[in-house]
Amino acid sequence: MPTARLRVGAGVSRLQGSSQAGRQAATSAMGPLGDEPPALVLVFTTPRHDLAALLAGVRAVTGPALLVGATTSGELALGEYLGFGAGVAVLAATAGPYRFGAASASFVRDDMDRAGQQLARTSRDRAGPSAHAALVLLADSLLGDLQELVHGTYRVTGPRVALVGGAAGDEQRFLRTLVFHGDQILEQGAVALWIASDLPLGAVTRHGFRPVGNPMLVTRAQGTTIMELGGRSAAAAYEEQLGLAPGALPPERFWDTSVLHPFGLRQADGTAVIRVARARSAEGHLTIQGCLPPPGCAVQVMTGTPDSLLAVVPEVAAEALAVRPDAALLLAFSCAARSRILGERAGEEPRRLQDAAGAVPTFGFYCCAEFARTAGVLGTHNATLTALAL
């Protein structure tokens, strides 16, 4: 049974050349490992790189270690924020007390539930049996309702396995997002990393939004689109909640406002799960990013400020580290919507996270939907900061 302490290193690069950037970030990441070979490599990168060259560059340094990753809408590593452009962040980790297994699949849009089951099952089998475990799930953010994928994994894992992760990004263009497994760059894909552990692991999630206005009933929805709220055009009802005249938020300006005022899906404990409408159609339909408030549920317009969003960061770190006080790594998955709201203060979130984590390295990326199951089957979020301490 492996009992060694987990050793991790993280590196970033802003070089324009993809291969060089991969090598540079990986070389930095490998440093703290000394002579010990990595058992796991995480790669989070801007989609602007030549991804094959980037991965080849990383693997030229890390060797054949298990590698998973995704394109992003920004990376975070050791308190540093890499915004849009040319950033790549690489994490190298020894096995320590854990055993890792990964599985991936392409073109899973048609049956994400089954894909989720298969990914969880295969990655679990590759990691081997254990008393406790966590599943890190990365997926193309444009697949549709990603909760189906989460539900599929939950059928296999049950509640004892912590789930975290995020949906890949493309710097908020919403055109093409990709995940990686080894040398593979997967289209319409998902990759699952199973972390087998002898000690409990736990996911943590916070957002920092508060409700405003009145609850509204979702009366018509399909896929990831809300057509009606309270029997009316969803866009008109949304505008009304914000005190705006009908049509005041045209499609081209919608995202600028909606990112500040997402929907909150009320939970049993009084908290809200966030759902961000990223687009409105001319017909007044609202497209939610990666998941949907199901028909029949009530939603409220929420509001958040940079300060309220940043206030939850130390809570996330503290709660995650409370689960694993001996942690050597804090994996974090934040949302591109948060960095957009934070604007010029976007760098404060990873910095505060690292400050709160102290000597524990922080590493992660900005997603287009976050995965964290903390209660019940619902494990898909927007505009949320999630974390797992290892």
């Binding site: 089951q117 099952r121 539900h151 939950y154 059928r155 296999v156 894992t157 049950g158 509640p159 004892r160 396995v161 508060r210 405003v212 206005g213 609850p215 009933l217 909640q241 914000l242 005190g243 705006l244 005022h261 009320r266 939970q267 049993a268 404990d269 199901p294 028909p295 029949g296 549920c297 009530a298 509001t303 209660a375 019940g376 089957v377 619902l378």
Partner: protein, 443 residues
């Protein structure tokens, strides 16, 4: 521009309204799911996922009672696939049994020293669990006890409001399950009705064919018999014509004999068809006095010919209770069986021993036992006696009428078995239902 957050009494009122809204939307969400026209497993899956979200429950299970007080999951959410098959604890002292007995929700902290706690729920890491009896302890028709189980991995107890709302929603899931089952039963019944109509149509067609075929068959047999009588004269004429004629005369006799045998077999089939699909069979269902039915079937038999075995009805035991069967069909089955047994030409040990028929009780059900100690039937032939397929070559078969009658009785709850007797020969047991049977087509 944004509405301001309420404080003070306004906030309290808003809180109460939000709670009411949560309950209302809980119902609306679940009813939206339950109204979807999707397969049952998908419906239950979505319903349980909705309950999981509404009550922040990591485990949700709908359990249904079965024989002997055992419970089994109809649908579950949150059970990992590597969990061994879950048999919920439902014995005396279990929380499930307590919920059923009190007809009220039971919510407990999952403690290691709680003897009423289901060990599987502890294994899942639950910290709080609740058992909610559904609608007088039953799903839908209130006859089958059902319980909804909720569990949380966090130490957050279910409130009384949670439990009441979850019970109400669980009842809706139970009703949806019952509606689905009723619809499925209706579809099966419709399919059976359609099948029955098709069979009836085929039967009428068969009867028509049998009626139409009987006349030409009769003169064909008559002509062949006449030809057979004249064969010696024809053969003599052929032999007089030379060697080739002599050979043809031999072949001709064989051909005519084969044709006669063929027409005899076709004749039997036509007779069977008329018996099977003719009027009066199968008749109305009702309680049948088996002893009386046996006596009536025996009375229908023609006097036994030379060498035929005797058939006796035995009445040693108390009469069997009435069976639930179509009387006319049962009579047809018994009469045809006995006709077959007393037919001349069957292979029998010498001297033939009497065939006995008696009513009996087997496993609490009324039965008819026919024992034939002398008919020589191989185990393979015993298995195929009731075969509906037409025999190829010489084979022992009861014939279409009897086979069809036994088949129909089996479809309506009877059990038929044929087995060797220890003292020689073989026996047939026809075990009948005492009420409307569910069918026993796999026998």
């Amino acid at each position: 521009m944004l509405p301001q957050e309420r404080t003070g009494p306004a906030a309290e009122s808003l809180g109460a309204l939000r709670a009411a809204l949560r309950d209302t939307t809980g119902f609306s969400r679940l009813l939206t799911v339950l109204s979807e026209d999707i397969p049952l497993h998908a419906l239950l899956d979505r319903a349980l996922a909705t309950l999981s979200e509404l009550f922040a429950s990591d485990v949700v299970a709908l359990l249904e009672g079965g024989a002997g007080g055992a419970f089994s999951p109809v649908a579950t959410l949150g059970l990992p696939e590597d969990l061994p098959t879950w048999t919920p604890s439902a014995g005396e002292g279990s929380h499930l049994r307590e919920a059923l007995r009190t007809r009220a929700p039971v919510s407990r902290v999952v403690a290691a020293d709680d003897p009423g706690m289901d060990p599987a729920l502890r294994e899942l890491g639950l910290q709080v669990a609740a058992w909610l009896p559904l609608a007088n302890g039953g799903i839908g028709d209130h006859e089958t006890p059902a319980v909804l189980v909720l569990g949380r991995c966090r130490p957050v107890a279910y409130s009384a409001g949670d439990l009441d709302l979850a019970t109400a929603l669980g009842r809706q899931v139970g009703l949806a399950l019952e509606r689905y089952r009723v619809k499925a039963q209706l579809r099966r019944t419709e399919a059976r009705l359609l099948e029955a109509e098709k069979l009836a149509l085929a039967g009428r067609l068969a009867l028509s064919i049998a009626e139409d075929a009987s006349n030409p068959l009769a003169y064909l047999r008559s002509n062949l018999a006449s030809l057979r009588e004249r064969l010696p004269a024809i053969a003599a004429a052929l032999r007089a014509a030379g060697a080739a004629g002599a050979s043809a005369a031999g072949d001709l006799a064989e051909l005519v004999d084969d044709s006669l045998e063929g027409t005899r077999r076709i004749g039997r089939l036509v007779d069977d068809l008329r018996k099977v699909v003719g009027p009066g069979t199968p008749g109305e269902f009702g309680p049948v006095d088996l002893r009386g039915a046996i006596a009536a079937s025996l009375a229908e038999l023609s006097p036994a010919g030379a060498g035929a075995p005797e058939v006796r009805q035995e009445r040693d035991d108390p009469p069997a209770p009435p069976a639930w069967a179509p009387y006319a069909l049962l009579r047809t089955a018994l009469t045809e069986l006995l006709r077959f047994l007393v037919a001349a030409g069957l292979p029998r040990t010498c001297p033939p021993s009497p065939i006995t028929v008696r009513d009996a009780v087997i496993e609490g059900r009324p039965a008819v036992i026919v024992e034939d100690p002398a008919l020589v039937v191989s185990p393979e032939e015993q298995r195929r006696l009731l075969d509906l397929r037409l025999p190829e070559g010489p084979a022992l078969r009861l014939g279409l009428a009897a086979a069809q009658a036994f088949q129909l009785l089996r479809r309506h709850g009877a059990r038929v078995s044929i087995s060797p007797r220890g003292a020689g020969g073989w026996m047939l047991c026809l075990v009948l239902p005492v009420d409307r049977g569910a069918g026993d087509e796999t026998v």
